[in-house]
């Protein structure tokens, strides 16, 4: 799993994942959330455009990230779900738990307003 970060401003950043989001990579993702909130980030966009596979451990990592942001009164938006990831979110009804956007820009716009 490759994780890249892009800072938009002192409170807002985009985290992009590339690879399979499962038990093997979930700790990496959880750690990334802790790292950005540690730097004062409160508005995080998570780009899943390059994640072809997510399982329940991967979902758990995303929930962990959501909790981390909630603890600092921040918020998390997911973007660019691939069709299989979208299927999982719908099956598990996690599409009701997360704010999901089509792409990074529309998520950032939502933060801006």
């Amino acid at each position: 799993m490759e994780i890249t970060q892009q800072n938009i401003d002192e409170e807002t950043c985009v985290i992009s994942l590339d690879g399979t989001l499962n038990a093997r990579s979930s700790d990496q993702v959880k750690e990334a959330f802790r790292e950005v909130t540690g730097r004062g980030m409160r508005q995080v966009v998570l780009d899943l455009g390059k994640v072809p596979f997510i399982d329940s451990s991967g979902l758990a990592a995303l929930v962990s990230g959501l909790k981390t942001l909630n603890e600092v009164e921040g918020s998390l938006k997911l973007t660019s779900l691939q069709s299989q990831a979208d299927l999982l979110f719908r099956l598990t009804m996690f599409d009701k738990v997360f704010e999901i956007y089509d792409d990074v820009n529309s998520a950032l716009e939502a933060f801006a307003t």
Partner: protein, 684 residues
């Protein structure tokens, strides 16, 4: 005329009166009509014209009235007084000879009373006789007409007779049944007016005959009576409680209705009530008979439509039980020969009882049979049948559940689609567990927005499948306890090694023992099909890939790659991207189980995951084994989209059960776990 008619018919009346008169006064009495013509009694003045009185007798009448002095004719004193019946002059009584004025007056009143009584009696007798004759005729007609008799027309003809006999200008009869007023009118308007409605309620509340000959009493009883109505005779009919009715006659010529008319109407009212009661009773009996006959016909049709005998198929044996709770059940089943290798099996249940349910049952079975005959897949058969039936079902506010299964005895596969029907049970002999053939699509009669997928089971020798209706699982004791699927599985498992017939009988006796004296409230239908242990297992059923890998999160990606490879090689898999979801879901399930094995069975310590990926005729079977800690399926938390229940691992099992057609768990001995996952390729 009346006086002459009565005294001619009853001469004794006048004879008695003159006898008394002669004995008391020594004089004579005679009666003359309004024209002075002799009617009865003596003829004292033989030398005068017509033998009664001189031509100027009317003058005497007025003189007599004027001065109260007796008139003298031929030397004899004569008294004369008018006779009336109900204020109508009918003639005069004449006394010849000395007699007191009072006695004469009393004699005249006596004669009036006798004549009135006789007139009333005679008139009534004549009227009654003719009325009875007419009514009897009508009544006979009613009886003869039987089922075709139309109560309204019978009542109209009776009313016409009554109106004629009573010399009324109009008559009407109002009958109330099922909160509806039926209006029968003769000689008046055909439609019930609000005024007549008022009269109906007034008469209905009135306990006795109502006779109004003047406008004052008429308006007292009937406040809104139309001005053109001058008199009224009406009565409430003594019908049974199921209906209420009144009859009324209006506008008889002056001086209006008599007491005799009233008596007649009372007698007639009983007759009319009898006609109404009999007709209603008759109609009721006819309706019941018709309903009973309909039920019998429907039951005959249904029984005749059930398959005769059981299919004979190499390697598979069948048994059937079908117990209708009433004459006409909503359950149905069918065997349809599709081609040399395949047999269609249909079981269904129409929600509802009685004739409409029976009609829909026959209709549903027929359409399902026709659609299956076109060679459609089970799901398409259900979709097409729903197209054909949905409108009728929605109008009837009914729905039909059904399970359509195709058994391929060569491949030993059972492909099915289940439209909201009680899940069938598949016993997997090698695992010793049941798998449910759960619903894949909503019941017929509910709009299908997204057709479900067909599912295919790969049967093995010793396996059996039970298709049934909810009459089995919902059998109830008197206390309301429900038999349920656990008891069903228990009864089946106890005879898992037996024949198909053993299975059916085992369930039947378990249900009987369970419900004891409780009545059979619902139809019970069961079809058991059992793959004989001697049957040849399907040749395709061998793993494409076997693996044994260290239990480490690092291997998850490798296992996923192998799953993808085997899936891509499945013969029935559609081209990408249609296949991508299927492959993803299989990978997802395998990933969940393997993660569980690594994290929980081995607690991240070293161990081995073994597995085999087996292509099926229309899907894939994955077996995963480990030697780690045992697993308790009941420890899995309930599924919920709540983020806080997403604890490590447990939620994954819910996802697996949700996305796989079958996810069987078995503890291995002495230690370890075995999971068997099956997913079928969705068709259509």
């Amino acid at each position: 005329m009346i006086l002459r008619a009565i005294l001619q018919k009853r001469p004794d009346i006048f004879v008695q009166l003159t006898d008394h008169w002669q004995r008391v006064t020594g004089g004579q009495l005679l009666a003359i009509d309004e024209d002075g013509e002799w009617v009865a009694g003596s003829r004292p003045f033989t030398h005068i014209g017509n033998g009664t009185l001189p031509e100027n007798w009317r003058d005497w009448l007025s003189q007599d009235h004027a001065n109260h002095q007796p008139i003298v004719v031929e030397g004899q004193p004569v008294q004369i007084t008018p006779l009336n019946i109900q204020r109508t002059p009918i003639g005069y009584l004449v006394a010849v000879g000395e007699a007191s004025r009072d006695l004469f007056w009393w004699s005249a009143k006596t004669l009036e009373a006798l004549v009135t009584a006789e007139e009333s009696l005679q008139g009534m007798t004549d009227e009654l006789i003719s009325a009875w004759n007419q009514l009897e005729l009508v009544f006979r007609v009613t009886q003869t007409l039987g089922s075709t008799s139309d109560l309204t027309s019978v009542l109209r003809s009776v009313l016409a007779e009554v109106k004629q006999v009573l010399k009324a200008s109009a008559g009407f009869l109002i009958q109330e049944q099922n909160d509806r007023l039926i209006f029968v009118s003769v000689g008046g308007h055909d439609r019930l007016s609000p005024q007549q409605r008022q009269l109906y309620y007034r008469l209905q509340r009135s306990k006795r005959l109502v006779l109004c000959n003047d406008t004052e009493s008429l308006h007292e009883f009937w406040p809104d009576a139309p001005t053109e109505i001058s008199n009224l005779l009406g009565i409430r009919l003594p019908t049974t409680d199921s209906t209420q009715a009144v009859v009324a006659l209006i506008n008889k010529e002056e001086p209006g209705f008599t007491a005799g008319d009233g008596k007649l109407l009372i007698a007639v009212a009983e007759q009319i009530a009898a006609i109404i009661n009999n007709t209603l009773l008759h109609q009721q009996i006819l309706a019941q008979e018709r309903m009973q006959r309909e039920l019998e016909i429907a039951a005959e049709i249904q029984i005749s439509l059930l398959p005769r005998g059981l299919p004979e198929i190499p390697g598979v044996e069948f048994a059937v039980a079908s117990l209708p709770a009433t004459e006409v059940g909503g359950d149905f089943y069918d065997f349809i020969s599709l081609d040399d290798n395949r047999l269609g099996i249909v079981v269904g249940d129409v929600a509802g009882k009685g004739v409409p349910a029976a009609m829909l049952t026959s209709l549903s079975r027929t359409i399902l049979r026709v659609e299956a005959g076109y060679g459609h897949s089970p799901q398409k058969v259900i979709t097409q049948t729903n197209h054909a039936l949905a409108q009728d079902l929605q109008r009837a506010e009914m729905f039909v559940t059904g399970l359509v299964a195709y058994l391929d005895h060569n491949e030993l596969t059972l492909t099915y689609a289940n439209a909201g029907h009680t899940p069938g049970l598949w016993w997997q002999a090698d695992l010793g567990t049941f798998e449910q053939l759960t619903a894949t699509t909503p019941p017929l009669g509910i709009q299908i927005t997204e057709p479900g997928a067909n599912r295919t089971l790969q049967l093995s020798p010793g396996d059996f499948v039970l298709l049934h209706t909810d009459g089995v699982t919902e059998s109830m004791t008197l206390d309301g306890l429900i038999f349920g699927s656990d008891r069903l599985e228990e009864a089946l498992a106890a005879h898992a090694g037996g024949t198909a017939d053993d299975l059916v009988q085992s369930v039947l006796s378990a249900v009987r023992a369970f419900r004891q004296s409780a009545p059979w409230s619902d139809d019970i239908t069961m079809i058991a099909m059992r793959v004989k242990p001697s049957a040849t297992p399907h040749p395709q059923l061998k793993p494409a890939v076997d693996f044994a890998l260290p239990a480490d999160l690092q291997v998850l990606d490798r296992i996923s790659e192998q799953v993808t490879q085997v899936c891509r090689s499945l013969p029935g898999l559609p081209a990408p991207p249609a296949s991508d979801d299927f492959i993803y879901l299989v990978e997802l399930a395998v990933s969940e189980i393997c993660t569980n094995i690594i994290q929980h069975a081995y607690s991240l310590a070293s161990g081995e995951i073994r597995g085999s990926l087996t292509p099926l005729a229309n899907g894939i079977q994955i077996d995963l084994y480990d030697d780690g800690e045992g697993f308790d399926p009941s420890s899995v938390p309930p599924p919920s989209p709540q983020a806080n229940v997403l604890n490590e691992g447990g939620y994954g099992l819910h996802i697996v059960r949700q996305i796989m057609d079958s996810a069987q768990y078995q503890a291995a001995t002495p230690k370890g776990n075995h999971w068997r996952l099956i997913k079928y390729i969705p068709s259509e």
